[in-house]
């Protein structure tokens, strides 16, 4: 009953369904291969700008009392260099690689949320552009890439510069969080059949942990940015000492993000190393379970290090000791990964090539960076070299060693996959030596420069400090390094077009991504393989041909539908067929309205910005409405029929909401932390102008939240038993209760003291807005599901399970919020 197609006919049918539109319509593309490449190209552009800024800085610092740049321009340049590199290059570049590689490595046809990925890219592009355009207009942020208050506040930086940073970066962070949500759902659910967690490619483990870290680590900064923007534009004090704020709160919130951020940057690169080293040693990775263990350990440990950026702030010794101990301990899982790589190389046959050169460079540079990191973890040493060029040297060693070298290796390694052509061995080696020598010449002397007392972020220095020769060496090294990058880029650009055609699997790797044609077709693979090993291509060299011939799962294209399999999390047993959306304009439109919202906030047009926010919400609702799937079962393989994804619990949509709620919860936890921090440690507390929340109001609110928490469960139960009327009743009740909650919170907020008067009032106002927003969104979502229940095409089971998540989260956070409102401002100690 299944017609047998020829491979060519199958290819044409799949390409027709999966292909991205051409020409200007390609703006509506959502395919992961396209989005991955776009992320990488945009990140490369930002990297080049950041690199030029670095060269400008080195030109300025090459000699004492240089008149090349003045203080103001220099402060914009060093701020933008850090911001561009950390936010607009590092993470998006790695995201691009992950988007491109993961579905292929996992044996799937696309990521779990193609449209969300497209939206993430547009948000990144618009957010980054805001920063770049501001820089070209001379309005770049100028308080350092970590924007310490009060310098970044409205009193000392009254212009639009800091707002550009706050808003542009928040926009880019939304992109990263969306990417993380997508990655979690994809890695857990969208894999080839049989690929259980024990067979997961190690890069996928790294990305899973990284995505989790993004979900937990970005929200503190998003919250901090929101609070600082509120302080700058509306005057709500959070960091202003005179009105009950504390500048150290910003530092805590920033570094709660900032430290995990550097591991978010390092882990994917280490994942690439873990993928490439076995190939160049021609044997599987040694100690797979140990590597997975250490990746997860690093992921968690990295959240316990943040105060080591604040050792000179005046924190008690015991507190600092916890962070000092944790900072040293984090070296151990990293060392385990190193042992694993070295052991793999030792017990294999090392094959040299340009990627291997870069990997060797990585080993050398990163270990040095790690050692200086351990030195910095010691408080007595830290208080000497904190905020000097020693730290600059350290951070560049770990970032260049830990990110750039693996990235360059990865570019060279996967270029045949992306372009179908082999890069040059000779040019690649020359580029490597220029970069390696230039880098060490630039940054090794910087350790000494810092030890000799040169602080960070100074635009010039006087002659008799003894820093001249070292700075000259550093500047020379920076330019040599730049030449190396130029050669590398030339190599990539020339050989992408004109290089020799790459053979199938040129590096003889074992990963699934090499089992397809290169450059890959839009649909990746004609049929999804049954995976039984960690390195499928080494176990079954003919796998690629088998997949192309349609001998595995989902070999039968379904016209008009993009299909891939959804599997069990642990075992990889296929449980449903996932229908993925094709190209569409909604991601672009939603990103445009989101950009409109942010730009209005930037230019202080608050009423208009609310309009844009509403428009964005409407577009999101349209977006969700479109993802409807029929209820029939689909033939996944000769004798196996699977339901469509909406019919099965734990669908990717559910995981997406769960991941988003992790991020939301991290934001809320940071807010609760911020409130308590200010209450206990800010100099201007307690406050006398606190009006207690009436008991009746709190009880009413809590009751409303409790009702919300259980209503979706009841609706789901009713829907399961086919009692549609009852389900609709519960949903309608949810809508009304949510609206009542929203009204109640609004009444409460109006009765609070003026938020510009004291940090307590501002904090309470932010809490109420948070709770109100969630209650409001709950009513919108419940109304949406209610409307959907009249849609005959499919059931609402999945929608209800997703709604249930949101309502329960809102209930819990709402009750915590009410308790906080009642107690924290006036708690007598």
């Amino acid at each position: 009953m299944t017609q047998t197609l020829s491979p060519w006919a199958r290819h044409r049918a799949l390409e027709r369904d999966w292909g991205s539109p051409k020409g200007w319509r390609s703006l509506s593309a959502v395919n992961h291969t396209v989005m991955g490449k776009r992320f990488m190209l945009a990140a490369l552009a930002f990297f080049l700008v950041g690199g030029i800024l670095a060269l400008l800085m080195r030109a300025q610092l090459a000699s004492h009392d240089s008149a090349f740049l003045d203080s103001e321009l220099y402060s914009q340049i060093f701020t933008m260099h850090g911001t561009l590199m950390m936010f607009l290059f590092a993470i998006p570049m790695l995201e691009g690689f992950a988007f491109y590689l993961l579905p292929k490595m996992l044996g799937a046809r696309d990521l779990a949320y193609p449209r969300l990925g497209a939206y993430a890219w547009w948000c990144y592009l618009f957010g980054g552009s805001i920063l770049l355009i501001a820089m070209l207009l001379g309005l770049a942020p100028n308080s350092g890439w970590f924007m310490y208050t009060p310098l970044a506040g409205s009193e000392y930086r009254p212009g639009i510069n800091s707002d550009v940073w706050l808003i542009g970066i928040t926009f880019a962070e939304i992109s990263a969080v969306c990417g993380a949500v997508e990655l979690v759902a994809t890695i857990l659910k969208v894999r080839a059949p049989g690929m259980g967690l024990n067979k997961l490619p190690v890069f996928a483990w790294y990305m899973l942990v990284t995505a989790g870290m993004i979900l937990a680590g970005f929200p503190p900064l998003i919250l901090g940015s929101i609070l600082l923007e509120l302080e700058r534009s509306l005057g709500w004090p959070f960091f202003d000492v005179a009105r009950g704020g504390d500048p150290i709160l910003w530092q805590h919130l920033f570094w709660l993000f900032g430290h995990p951020e550097v591991y978010i940057i390092f882990l994917p690169a280490a994942g690439m190393v873990s993928t490439m080293v076995p190939v160049f040693a021609q044997r599987p990775l040694v100690g797979y379970v140990w590597v997975v263990n250490s990746v997860i350990a690093v992921g968690f440990l990295s959240f316990g290090l943040w105060v080591h950026h604040m050792f000179t702030v005046g924190i008690p010794q015991l507190g600092m000791a916890f962070f000092s101990a944790a900072s040293m301990l984090v070296a151990v899982p990293t060392a385990i990964q190193f042992f694993a790589w070295l052991a793999t190389l030792w017990s294999g046959t090392v094959k040299w090539g340009v990627p291997m050169l870069y990997l060797a460079g990585f080993l050398f540079v990163f270990v040095i960076g790690g050692l200086t990191g351990v030195m910095l973890a010691l408080v007595p040493f830290n208080v000497q070299v904190h905020d000097t060029h020693f730290v600059v040297a350290h951070l560049h060693y770990v970032l260049t060693g830990g990110l750039i070298f693996p990235l360059l290796a990865a570019c060279h390694y996967w270029l045949p996959h992306i372009t179908g052509r082999m890069p040059s061995g000779r040019m690649g080696s020359v580029a490597f030596w220029f970069i390696f020598i230039g880098f060490n010449l630039a940054f090794l002397p910087m350790h000494l420069t810092g030890l000799f007392g040169m602080p960070r972020r100074i635009y010039t220095y006087v002659q008799d400090m003894g820093w001249d020769a070292l700075n000259q060496a550093s500047s020379l090294g920076a330019f040599i390094q730049a030449v190396g990058f130029a050669i590398f880029l030339l190599d990539v650009m020339l050989f992408s077009r004109n290089g020799p055609l790459a053979p199938r699997n040129p590096w003889k790797a074992g990963g699934l991504e090499w089992a397809m044609a290169t450059p890959p077709p839009s649909y990746n693979i004609a049929s999804q393989p049954q995976v039984m090993d960690r390195e499928p291509l080494w176990a079954t060299p003919a796998l690629g041909a088998q997949m192309a011939a349609g001998r595995h799962w989902l070999a039968q294209p379904s016209p008009g539908h993009r299909q891939t399999l959804s599997v069990d999390v642990v075992t990889g047993t296929p449980s449903a067929v996932l229908h993925l959306p094709g190209p569409g304009w909604l991601p672009l439109y939603s990103a445009l309205t989101t950009a409109g919202f942010f730009l209005c906030v930037l230019f202080k047009l608050y009423a208009v910005s609310l309009g844009f926010a509403g428009l964005t919400l409407v577009l999101f609702l349209f977006w969700t409405w479109q993802g409807v799937v029929s209820a029939r079962r689909i033939t996944a393989r000769d004798e196996v029929r699977l339901p469509a994804h909406g019919q099965v619990a734990g669908a990717p949509g559910w995981w997406g909401m769960a991941s988003a709620l992790i991020a939301d919860g991290a934001l809320f936890a940071s807010l609760v932390f911020g409130c308590w921090y200010l209450r206990l440690f800010a100099p201007g507390w307690p406050t006398s102008g606190w009006t207690p929340v009436p008991w009746s109001m709190s009880i009413a609110l809590c009751a409303g939240f409790l009702f919300m928490g259980m209503s979706a469960g009841r609706a789901g139960l009713a829907a399961f038993h086919e009692q549609t009327g009852r389900a609709r009743g519960w949903l309608a009740a949810t809508v009304s209760v949510s609206l009542l909650l929203l009204a109640g919170i609004a009444v409460l907020a109006v009765g609070m003291p003026d938020p510009t008067s004291h940090a307590s009032a501002a904090a309470m106002r932010v809490l109420s807005v948070y709770m109100g927003l969630h209650a409001g969104l709950a009513s919108v979502m419940a109304a949406y599901v209610l409307r959907r229940s009249w849609d005959r095409r499919a059931g609402i089971a999945l929608d209800l399970s997703i709604l249930r998540l949101w309502l329960r989260y809102t209930a819990v956070s709402g009750i915590v919020g009410v308790a906080l409102l009642m107690y924290f401002p006036g708690v007598a100690l």
């Binding site: 402060s75 000179t312 017990s347």
Partner: protein, 195 residues
């Protein structure tokens, strides 16, 4: 940590039991494993070892200095300067500290505006001056002389030019102040400050 390190070594020793090929890897192995490991352990021990105290019974009583940081200069006052510590004759310095040698100096750091950081590298570590709080830093000069210091936290346009000097004095002239009636004669200053 030792447990984890042992586990890691055990894991990597397993494959070495099979035939090891690739002699280049041996160099990486020795350099990449033994070297960091020994350094890590040494540093861990060193870091947790209580450092020798700079102040002790052999040195004099602590001397307080109040440093109030501004954009972009340092205001220095001396609450322990004896009978002239307050009032219009109170000793007051800008971008300079005058301290006695061999006495623990307790610097009380405050800030007028943004976060600055007080750092005299040859005398001790740095400490941030943060608006709204008083941070304390302990320094000691064991030899008389002039020690240079810088501001070590980016504080705006002239952050690079916010240097200061710490002058350590031996003997009773440590709180020497020039006044117009001195006519530039240090002996008159010494005479005035003799207790």
């Amino acid at each position: 940590m030792l447990l984890m390190v042992l586990l890691a070594v055990w894991a990597s020793l397993r494959p070495a039991a099979r035939s090891s090929r690739g002699s280049r890897a041996a160099l990486l192995w020795g350099g990449g494993v033994i070297f960091p490991l020994s350094v890590l352990i040494a540093l861990l021990v060193y870091g947790h070892y209580p450092d020798g105290k700079a102040g002790g019974a052999a040195h004099g009583p602590p001397f307080r200095v109040q440093v109030h940081a501004h954009q972009w200069w340092w205001e220095v006052r001396y609450p322990d300067a004896g009978p002239v510590a307050s009032g219009k004759d109170a000793p007051y310095d800008v971008n300079e500290l005058h301290i006695p040698v061999n006495r623990p100096i307790h610097v009380e750091l405050t800030s007028e505006d943004v976060i600055h950081s007080f750092w005299a590298p040859r005398l001790g570590g740095k400490m941030d001056a943060i608006p709204g709080r008083v941070n304390r830093l302990e320094l000691m000069a064991s030899e008389p002389g002039v020690y240079l210091g810088v501001c070590a936290e980016f504080c705006g346009a002239q952050h690079a030019h916010m240097a200061f000097r710490v002058v350590a004095h031996d003997g009773p002239a440590w709180l020497a102040r020039q006044r117009p009636e001195d006519g530039g004669d240090p002996a008159r200053v010494a005479e005035r400050d003799r207790p």
